[in-house]
Amino acid sequence: MPHSLINLATQLQRKEISSVELTTEYLNKIKKQNKKTNSYIFTNEEVSLNQAKKADEIIKKGSPSVLTGIPMSLKDNIMTIDMPTTAASKMLAKYIPSYSATVYTKLLNNGAVLLGKTNLDEFAMGSSTLNGYFGETSNPYDTDKIAGGSSGGSAASVAEDTSIYSLGSDTGGSIRQPASYCGVVGFKPTYGAVSRNGLIALASSFDQIGPIAKNVEDARIVFNVIKGKDEFDMTAFEIPRTTRQNPVIGIDEDSIQKIADKDTLKVFEKAINACKKLGYKTVKINSKYDDLYIKLYFVLAYAEMASNMGRYTGIGFGYHTKSSYIDTDDFIRKTRSEAFGDDVKTRVMFGNYMLSGDNMKKYYYKALKIRHDLIEDYYLNIFNKCDFILSPTTPTAAPRKDHKYSSVEEGSLPNIFALPANLIGLPSITIPFGMSSENMPIGIMLSGKKNFDNALFTVAKNFEQYSEHKSLDIK
């Protein structure tokens, strides 16, 4: 049984262990384990231990919250005033933010202890955590396999127990896909449920920060702390409390059969059985926009990415070219050429192409319209029949690092089940549910209607009881 948030909170509050002891133990574990997986980009013992000391004082005074003294980690695209925030890019390799993300402030207000910043794909652009400036993150179950991404460092750190929980960000599956590959719980909240203030923007209308944790209850606890309205994010709001009695579960059997591999289908079969055991009615669903998810994501999300990446010019902050330049344009061009990796450059070029001249109408506005139609279809068609959608999280377990995809579209398949939640703004959670023939974790994913985050947690917890997942036990 891995260290869960609830267990440790109880031990801390009973003073069986201090936060300083716990934090020291985790910092030592990171030192050892990071050589194998490289989950962390950066740690700072002094900062962590100071926070732990403060937490111990709060516990001594008798006013702790459940997060007080619990060591955690943050994906390195979440602003932390006391540790660098690099987005795993040469562009921000030495960047120390002048402010903290709202989520970090909220965690600190609850006495949380930050162990360090976890690895990701550069600027969260990727699904492997192989392409960052600070190297690859490996899957703790098998270091020849990918941890997934872009929140690969966060997922791996929770799986290998170098943090109790972590926050990642999910733009097109970036929390759920790595969480599934690493055998942990990952939750993407309703769009707007958590403030994005201090999250380095990738695609602003898709991005959400969410927890990666060892079980559904831990994720729920963390989510309840970080959620809410924020004066620094106009799109953030207070989600209502929701419950759903006798939920109906929608399953798109046809597309799952078509895309998922044998091992995944086997685990998924068990999830369908769990529905029966739980007394949940299941219905067949299908979306007529199935084959458009990836295309929509490419056009819309990449356009937003290209726009959001504009600020990295070397002028105000971050890396700037050391070579000579003729004018401002030349300076900016050299800076960006030298500091961005290939994946970032590709997306910036692709996104700007979508927004340029006539393409704006031909692609961008067309995609925007289809996104709108897709949302309407989900509510009129799919959520008319069911309350939650069940699917595998990914079509396969974590692939090998050297696995080559034959096309860009095939390369996006690992996120195919995750994408609708980002396109529509739905809450979505992955639960580790079984193991592959190679003993790699396989997850199932549940998504609910917008604002039904609470109800989704309840249903996910019920499924969790039937999980045949095997946790790692790394000492």
Binding site: A87, P97, Y99, R196, F232, A303, G310, R311, F317, S356
Partner: protein, 470 residues
């Protein structure tokens, strides 16, 4: 020459004087120590998000209402992309698809309406200071709020262009949304110009960017008009190309900016950090109720009150003058106050800016009371005019300058006697007057004024003299 019509449209940027910037809580002040009013948000640091300042929305709606615009119930924000050191995020947050105000107009004195296509809100760029080697960035101006007022090409003369800008300034100052100081850059104009023959389609337009003086605008329009007409007359019509030009005041001519800007693709798209923003009609109606009287309304009232049109124009041109006048009127005689302001007080002010500021040492109440004394014949205009400069200079109330003697008006029987004496003493002047030289009567009046040391009422005196000689 006049066989070509001039067609002009304006895009006017106006800085709003809200307390804080458009997307953060930094002070909306600049000119001070560089880079002191900025924060991660207006610097465009990673991870920051905009929070739309509600005051900016209010100010823009007020501007729209006073320019007869419709206020749609929904608006959205868009991003306009370009790389330049004055723009930290490399995009400007502005409005292109759904602006805050639509379809208004501004009425000229002739009754002609200059249509407003729309007004949108946006953030200003930072200020760049160049020296021979470097570019320095002052971010105090970055993300300060602007509105851009875009007209249809309805202006057809240099005079109308001047009147449009002056009226726009007066309106925006009256509703207190901007200083509209062109010389300080709080109002800047892009001017679109084309020419065509009556009955023919509009010509190719050129745009002169960033004009910061009305007289330069006039000169630039004249220059462009001549340039276009010359090119057409010389068979070089194809050399008029749609482009951005710059006015050079030293040579009094325009030149092509030949910047990439003409080919620039701004890649406008909806800013995903804002949802579509709803504007409640009740919110708009409340703002409408709170709007002060506009210069045109005040002017109409002044004319109704017996002030002549030209004076009414001058009194409502500057907000501070109009405020002062309306306040002074409560304590005295409106026409006399108008003559004080437009005469003695304006004479003490050399520049437009001084009139705009109207920073004088006399209170409106004191000036009003002075006018009342004159109106009630307790003092003469002559005396009022002799003490006004002292009041303006020293700032003491009028009572400090009036002697007992000043306050006693001259007995009319005494004046009657002096009038008779004057007619007798000046037969030549009387003869001249009767011969048709109307001005000659002034000499006779002058005799009486001298004898009373200016205390006689000149109009009464003139009346009396006319009676005597007829």
């Amino acid at each position: 020459m006049s066989k070509y019509n001039l067609v002009v449209g304006f895009e006017t940027h106006v800085e709003l004087k809200t307390k804080t910037k458009i997307f953060c809580s930094c002070a909306n002040e600049f000119g001070g120590e560089p880079n002191t009013n900025c924060c991660p948000i207006c610097l465009g640091e990673p991870g920051t998000l905009p929070q739309l300042n509600k005051e900016v929305v209010k100010y823009a709606i007020k501007a729209g209402l006073s320019l007869n615009c419709k206020i749609p119930q929904e608006m959205s924000m868009d991003r306009k992309h370009y790389f330049y050191p004055d723009l930290g995020k490399s995009y400007q947050t502005t409005q292109s698809s759904r602006p805050i105000c639509l379809e208004g107009y501004l009425t000229l004195d002739s009754g002609k309406k200059i249509r407003i296509n729309h007004i949108h809100i946006e953030e200003d760029a930072s200020k760049l200071v160049h020296d021979s080697k470097n570019i320095y960035i002052d971010n105090n101006r970055g993300s300060t709020p602007l509105i851009e007022i875009v007209t249809e090409p309805d202006i057809s003369s240099v005079e109308e262009a001047r009147e449009y800008i002056e009226k726009l300034q007066a309106i925006l100052r009256h509703i207190d949304v901007s200083d509209c100081k062109m010389q300080e850059g709080s109002m800047r104009c892009d001017v679109n110009i084309s020419v065509h023959k009556e009955g023919e389609p509009l010509g190719t337009r050129t745009e002169i960017k960033n004009m910061n003086s009305i007289s330069f605008i006039e000169k630039a329009i004249s220059y462009e008009y001549d340039r276009h007409v010359d090119l057409i007359e010389n068979g070089q019509k194809d050399q008029i190309i749609q482009e951005t030009r710059r006015y050079d005041e030293k040579t009094d001519s325009t030149e092509s900016m030949r910047e990439k800007e003409d080919a620039q693709d701004y890649r406008y798209f909806p800013d995903p950090n804002f949802f579509v923003l709803k504007i409640e009609p009740s919110f708009v109606e409340n703002l409408r109720k709170m709007l002060p009287k506009l210069p045109s309304e005040i002017k109409a009232e002044l004319i109704e009150d017996g002030i002549d049109e030209k004076a009414a124009d001058l009194l409502t041109k500057y907000k501070n003058v109009s405020d002062f006048y309306l306040e002074a009127k409560k304590y005295g005689d409106n026409k006399i106050i108008a003559t004080y302001i437009l005469g003695e007080i304006f004479r003490s002010m050399e520049t437009e800016e001084e009139k705009e500021n109207f920073d004088i040492k006399i209170t409106a109440e004191d000036l009003g009371k002075l006018s009342l004394l004159q109106k009630e014949n307790k003092i003469t205009a002559h005396i009022a005019y002799s003490i006004l400069p002292k009041m303006l200079k020293e700032g003491r109330p009028h009572t400090a300058y009036l002697t007992k003697e000043d306050l006693v008006s001259v007995d009319n029987t005494e004046v009657d006697k002096l009038c008779k004496e004057a007619v007798d003493a000046m037969p030549q002047a009387v003869k001249d007057y009767k011969a048709g030289k109307e001005k000659a009567i002034k000499a006779v009046v002058g005799y009486v004024m001298r004898a009373t040391k200016g205390k006689a009422n000149p109009s009464y005196t003139e009346q009396k003299i006319l009676e005597l000689i007829q």
